[in-house]
């Protein structure tokens, strides 16, 4: 019997070599970014554009720039489905397309306004792709964005991913990844919010010589795109996006400029950290209303004028002004979402469901789309300013003699 077992194992050895799924790394074309548009030639077709890294371009700096190949290879193909278009790419690519390292999926505006289901369907099906891949809607054609410069890196797809990663410091934009988009897409009530991109003319300068200065189109993050279940309804501006970022961002760290209590023509920069948002819902005869409570800690980061207020008075006034500004910002974003787009992209339906499950399951769920635009939302903020960040007295108040006199 041992002999039989030995033969069985020996026979199985060739079957265990893994040749079926062998992929040599030098044969792979690593996709850095992908753009999906509706074809301009045939509206029923998709245009897929890929940005593929070219490892041969990473040679030594001694290579002459004339002979050095481009760091990325960009190509487009059309197909009746996204998958067919990608297969078409194989006809012009010398390397096998691999999605595992893709950083960004850019969706063209015309496709987003039509239906993004095929995009989500294809990329969530794709086992190679990471669910944390960034997603964005291009204000225009996705192909143009894949050809444009992004950030400082030599591979725009990677630079774009870095821009998504570090945008949290401004609060002016919104980063969305496939995981979040897919979760909202399959949610009963929450609609999609996807970050949007625009192209700006930017001046770049190679080296120190101004002679080499030229203007190129550069990608910049630019607010959010609001969807209903599957179609884009429109955009939110940077200010409107910022209003929603107070309770949408995972780790908001926002800087607000508020008028100085002593001189409203001057500003004080306050950095708000440790922001927490609490959303509560109330039901009054099957009509829901919401209260949003924002709490956070503030630090005075910059003060541009003189002040005769004591530190405590100054802090209290700054807290009040900061709270008012936060409420105004949030109201601006909510107003657009509720009154213009009428789309529950903020998950208010989920809040009602979790807090009033009986009423939700007894009919509120079915009427939610009609009810949502008319819900009342009250916003309150509670900011505690804890320090004036290093300076004890405003720098403009500072006089050497006064310090010595004290």
């Amino acid at each position: 019997m041992k002999t039989i077992a030995l033969y069985v194992l020996l026979i199985s050895l060739p079957l265990l070599s893994g040749c079926w799924d062998m992929r040599e790394i030098n044969e792979l074309g690593l996709v850095m970014a992908v753009g999906i548009d509706k074809s301009s030639n045939n509206p029923d077709h998709y245009l897929v554009t890929v940005q593929v890294a070219n490892p041969q371009a990473g040679g030594s700096s001694a290579d002459s720039s004339i002979n050095r190949p481009e760091t990325i290879w960009i190509s487009s193909a059309e197909g009746k489905t996204i998958f067919e278009a990608i297969r078409e790419l194989a006809r012009i690519s010398s390397q096998r397309i691999m999605w595992a390292h893709n950083n960004v999926i850019v969706i063209g505006e015309s496709l987003a306004r039509d239906d993004i289901t095929p995009v989500i369907d294809f990329f969530s099906h794709n086992h190679e792709l990471r669910m944390k891949t960034w997603m964005a809607v291009a204000k225009g054609s996705a192909t143009d964005f894949l050809k444009a410069k992004a950030g400082m890196g030599s591979i725009p797809g990677q630079s774009l991913a870095d821009m998504f990663r570090y945008q949290q410091f401004t609060g002016l934009d919104f980063h969305s990844n496939l995981l979040k988009v897919y979760g909202d897409f399959t949610s009963d009530t929450t609609n999609l919010l996807i970050g949007s991109l625009s192209l700006e003319q930017a001046t770049t300068q190679a080296g120190l010589s101004k002679v080499q200065e030229n203007t190129v189109e550069q990608i910049q993050m630019d607010g959010m795109a609001v969807f209903d279940q599957r179609r884009m309804l429109g955009y939110l501006s940077e200010d409107e996006t910022r209003g929603l970022a107070w309770f949408l961002s995972e780790n908001p760290n926002m800087v607000i400029s508020v008028p100085h209590p002593s001189d409203s023509s001057e500003s004080v920069a306050v950095e708000i950290v440790a922001v927490k948002a609490k959303i509560d819902s109330q039901l009054d005869q099957q009509t829901p209303s919401f209260s949003i409570q924002i709490t956070g800690t503030g630090h005075i980061a910059e003060e541009d004028t003189t002040s005769d207020l004591s530190i405590n008075d100054f802090k209290h006034q700054m807290e009040f002004l900061a709270e008012q500004q936060i409420i105004e910002e949030i109201d601006l974003g909510l107003d657009k979402v509720l009154n213009v787009y009428k789309s529950d992209v903020l998950g208010f339906g989920k809040v009602v469901h979790s807090q009033h499950k009986k009423e939700w399951n007894q009919g509120l769920k079915d009427r939610w789309v009609q009810i949502f635009p008319d819900v009342e939302i009250s916003v309150a903020a509670d900011i505690e300013i804890k320090s004036s960040t290093l300076n004890q007295i405003p720098l403009r108040n500072y006089r050497r003699s006064s310090v010595i006199d004290d």
Binding site: L15, D21, H127, T186
Partner: protein
């Protein structure tokens, strides 16, 4: 007993989480989410509580018949022929349980790593591996439980750290959204996993070299299993949400696709699957072993063990291949009738045997546990 193989109580303790973990964390969680949405974790928790009670009932039954498998206990309690019929039913159950367990591994490989490799080949190689395990003996299979449990701990830790940033508690709310009765009714899906442990213990218990405190050991093994397993539907719901869970066959794989440990370790599915391999092997190979034992004991073919192992390999391979050649068929099978079969067998058999033994006065005298 046919063999003099013995396992220690520590190995027994380690074996129980290994018999439960592999299929429960992803495939069962997905099947349950398709029925009760965000209540998947509460429904599975209720099933776990019921399952713990049944496992303790099974241990109680064995405490009265410490040197007998459940097939032999059946013969003693309900009579020779009914006992043999029970043995045949259990042998068939363990073949299908092997298929359900083996396909946890084959589906991971087929759908995420070896997408171009023919499915039959993955099934064949995995069956071959488990057959080798059964050839060398249950003691060797059970020894892998330690690696299996360490793997379970590692995969849980890496999963939690990698997905914690995307966890949203609101996805788990409201608790018991579909109501308590719906949660209890849908807890049958976890019995697809619990049955492997309950009936597996029924075959393995006599191998214990020391049967003291097995009640307590089994209880704590179930507590550990509950913690290790229920963290998955909780995290899966919190991270990918019930809607997305319903879309995928191998939900745990989808969960690890979302895991990211800093930007420098953006994905590590393969590492996590390697942690997962030992526990899946222990589960599958134990089901294979239990099928061989049931078949031998009910048929009386005690001398041709190796031939039976070889013949059953064909059944195991066919069960695995046919069950999941189309993954939708696999999921439908797990939802119906597999969950119902498992619930009836794992709940019904211990209860019927205890009740019958009680009526026939076979539970009166507690035998002295044998120590070897």
């Amino acid at each position: 007993m046919m063999t003099k193989v013995k396992i220690s109580r520590f190995q027994y303790f380690l074996l129980i989480p290994n018999l439960l973990f592999a299929k429960a964390i992803g495939i069962t969680a997905g099947v349950t989410a398709r029925s009760v949405g965000s209540d998947a974790w509460t429904s599975m928790s209720i099933g776990f509580l019921l399952g713990t009670a049944i496992i303790l009932a099974m241990v109680y039954l064995h405490s009265r018949f410490p040197e007998k498998t459940i097939v032999q206990i059946s013969e003693e309690v309900v009579g020779k022929w009914l006992g043999k019929l029970t043995g045949i039913v259990l042998a068939l159950f363990f073949i299908l349980a092997f298929g359900a367990s083996a396909n946890v591994m084959t589906m991971h490989l087929k759908e995420y790593f070896l997408v171009e490799t023919p499915f039959w080949l993955i099934c064949f190689v995995y069956t071959l591996l488990c057959m080798y395990g059964v050839f060398v003996g249950i003691e060797n299979i059970v020894r892998f439980s330690l690696f299996g449990l360490l793997g379970c701990l590692l995969i849980n830790i890496t999963m939690i750290f990698g997905t914690w940033g995307d966890f949203d508690l609101i996805n788990l709310l409201p608790v018991l959204d579909r109501g308590l009765s719906a949660n209890i009714a849908n807890s049958i899906y976890i019995f697809g996993d619990l049955a492997m442990a309950i009936l597996g213990i029924g075959m393995i218990y006599p191998l214990l070299n020391n049967k003291d405190k097995t009640f307590v050991i089994s209880f704590w093994a179930m507590v550990l299993s509950g913690i290790l397993i229920l963290i998955w539907p909780i995290m899966e719901l919190g991270v990918i949400g019930s809607g997305a869970m319903q879309q995928y066959v191998v939900v745990c794989m989808q969960q690890v696709r979302c895991a990211q440990l800093t930007r420098y370790l953006p994905r590590y599915e393969l590492i996590m699957v390697s942690f997962f391999t030992f526990t899946t092997f222990v589960q599958s190979a134990t089901m294979y072993y239990c099928s061989v034992q049931s078949f031998q004991q009910s048929s009386g073919m005690l001398k041709n063990r190796q031939i039976i192992i070889l013949l059953l390999a064909i059944a195991m391979f066919l069960a695995t291949f046919l069950m999941a050649n189309d993954h939708n068929n696999y999921i439908h099978f797990l939802a119906y009738p597999w969950a119902q079969i498992c619930t009836i067998l794992s709940l019904g058999l211990p209860v019927v045997l205890i009740m019958t033994a009680l009526i026939r006065g076979k539970l009166k005298n507690k035998p002295t546990p044998a120590k070897t």
